[in-house]
């Protein structure tokens, strides 16, 4: 059941490793598998390249969710760097939870180059989960322009009043 009356289309950024998971996405494409178009893919050479900064920057710039994908554990093209992705993902979830972010908004998915169908399904599931959660709009968390600007403008006037010599 949609939570809002407007049609909310989640914006999800996916960081996909070049070898397995990006090829899975490629396969989904060449096999003409239909799946939700809400994911913007950014290819990295290895999931171990994913810096938590990427995830935080995506969220801070308005993404509703972030997806990380890589080769299955044991199958990393660079031997074992996907374990770094796994540990960074764990650190991120632990931290983001304390900041109030729903854990469903950050997802780590392993996909081999042959798993185009599975990756497409995982994307569809993520999009629906985030559609249910609603838009994130993280920058709105720190905006307080309404009363703040009024209070600021009032200060000059208050200073002028305070400087007046009482009658």
């Amino acid at each position: 059941m949609p939570m809002t009356t407007e049609n909310f289309e989640p914006k999800i950024i996916a960081f996909m490793c070049n070898w397995c998971s990006y090829r899975a996405a490629d396969l989904a494409g060449t096999a003409r598998i239909k799946y939700a178009p809400n994911v913007r893919i950014i290819r990295v050479m290895c999931s171990g390249r994913i810096d938590p900064t990427f995830v935080l920057a995506a969220l801070a710039q308005g993404a509703d969710g972030v997806m990380l994908t890589g080769c299955h554990p044991g199958e990393c093209h660079y031997v074992n760097q996907n374990y770094k992705a796994l540990r960074r993902y764990a650190m991120l979830q632990h931290t983001l939870q304390q900041l109030g972010l729903e854990p469903e908004r950050l997802r780590l998915i392993w996909a081999s180059a042959a798993e185009g169908q599975q990756l497409a399904e995982a994307v569809d599931r993520l999009v629906e989960d985030i559609r249910r959660l609603g838009p994130l709009r993280w920058p709105a968390n720190w905006q307080e322009d309404g009363q703040r600007l009024k209070a600021l403008a009032a200060i000059e006037k208050e200073h002028a009043e305070a400087s007046e010599v009482p009658r």
Binding site: M91, Q98, L99, A140, N141, A151, A154, I155, E161
Partner: protein
């Protein structure tokens, strides 16, 4: 003797801070006399008498140097930041609060209502004097007129999230010799391009004398759980030493007394988010490939990730604060 040079005008201001930066300036000891020779202090609420009105009446750019410490969390502090920016030729974000929010920035895990409820409710710190649980009001009518209090923001901002800042002096507080070096650089005009941090650009590890081997961490320890050996890298011993992600400049004072670095010098240049870099580095050295075990190592060893990774830099981080409910985020 050479003719007396015209003295420059110096201002120091404190916003949301603890006052330690004010004291740190005095940490330069006898050199304060050199400062007094080179500058007339036109505004320093902590230490000298002065009126904001006098600052308001100075010409724009009339203050040569303003050392501004503290984060911005009230409308008065924002007003003063804007005023001192207009009136100062050089505005320096002095210390961690102004640069990245520091400890006051941790209030970004909360909001005005919660803060006020905690302080002013019947069981709070002001209980004895405030049994009626009065909350601060921005405008109060009294027979003599209207009393004004500034607006208290939900979110603390850094100085450079509020106005343009010329230079930054990192540290909580900045070390006395770095303060002096910055003042000398300013007086001699030997400054890096505007916007730079006045400090080194390597990490605390560079200055730390401890021996480093390979880091393979199976468990993080809290500082009270172990007495570390004095020679080996603290991180290797499982203590959460933030030196790996923290700007150098302090000569690794804390690790040298068995205390893990907590990151008061902030991030290095080109780092967008201090905590992200720290998380990334720690994830690289955790010695486990099992999701369950990894989860346990992190949950047990780092019970307060925001406090550990963003102790000083939450306000400056990419996410800046915790999530507020949609009803609270009405642009108020």
């Amino acid at each position: 003797m050479t003719q007396a040079k015209a003295k420059g005008k110096l201002a120091l201001y404190w916003a949301a801070s603890c006052g330690g930066c004010e004291i740190a300036v005095l940490g330069i000891d006898a050199k304060i006399l050199d400062v007094a020779e080179a500058f007339n202090i036109v505004f320093w609420p902590c230490a000298t008498d002065g009126k904001v009105r006098d600052v308001e009446q100075l010409p724009d750019g009339g203050i040569d140097l303003c050392l501004f410490n503290g984060g911005i969390r009230t409308s008065e502090q924002e007003y003063m930041a804007q005023l001192l920016r207009r009136k100062s030729r050089l505005l320096v974000a002095f210390g961690s609060c102004a640069q990245e929010g520091c400890i006051p920035g941790l209030a970004n895990l909360s909001n005005r209502q919660e803060v006020f409820d905690t302080v002013y409710r019947a069981a709070g710190p002001t209980f004895a004097e405030n049994p009626a649980e009065v909350r601060p009001q921005q405008h109060t009518e009294v027979p003599e007129g209207t009393l004004h209090l500034p607006m208290f923001y939900d979110t603390l901002r850094t100085l450079d999230q509020t106005v343009e800042v010329d230079y930054c002096l990192p540290g909580c507080p900045p070390e006395a010799e770095n303060i002096w070096a910055a003042i000398v650089a300013i007086l001699e005009g030997k400054l890096p391009p505007r916007g730079a941090v006045l400090g080194l650009n390597t990490t605390v590890c560079d200055e730390c004398p401890r021996k480093r081997n390979e880091k393979k961490i199976k468990k993080f320890y809290r500082t009270w759980q172990v007495i570390p050996d004095a020679e080996t890298c603290l991180l290797e011993q499982g203590l959460l030493c933030c030196g790996i992600a923290t700007r150098a400049g302090c000569k690794a004072l804390c690790p040298q007394v068995n205390s893990p670095c907590i990151g008061c010098h902030g991030a290095n240049d080109a780092v967008q988010d201090y905590g992200a870099r720290l998380m990334s580095a720690l994830a690289s050295v955790i010695d486990s490939e099992d999701p369950q075990e990894i989860g346990q190592i992190i949950a047990e060893g780092i019970p307060d990730p925001v406090g550990s990774f963003y102790r000083f830099s939450l306000a400056k981080s990419l996410l800046r604060r915790s999530k507020r409910e949609p009803t609270q985020r009405n642009g108020a």
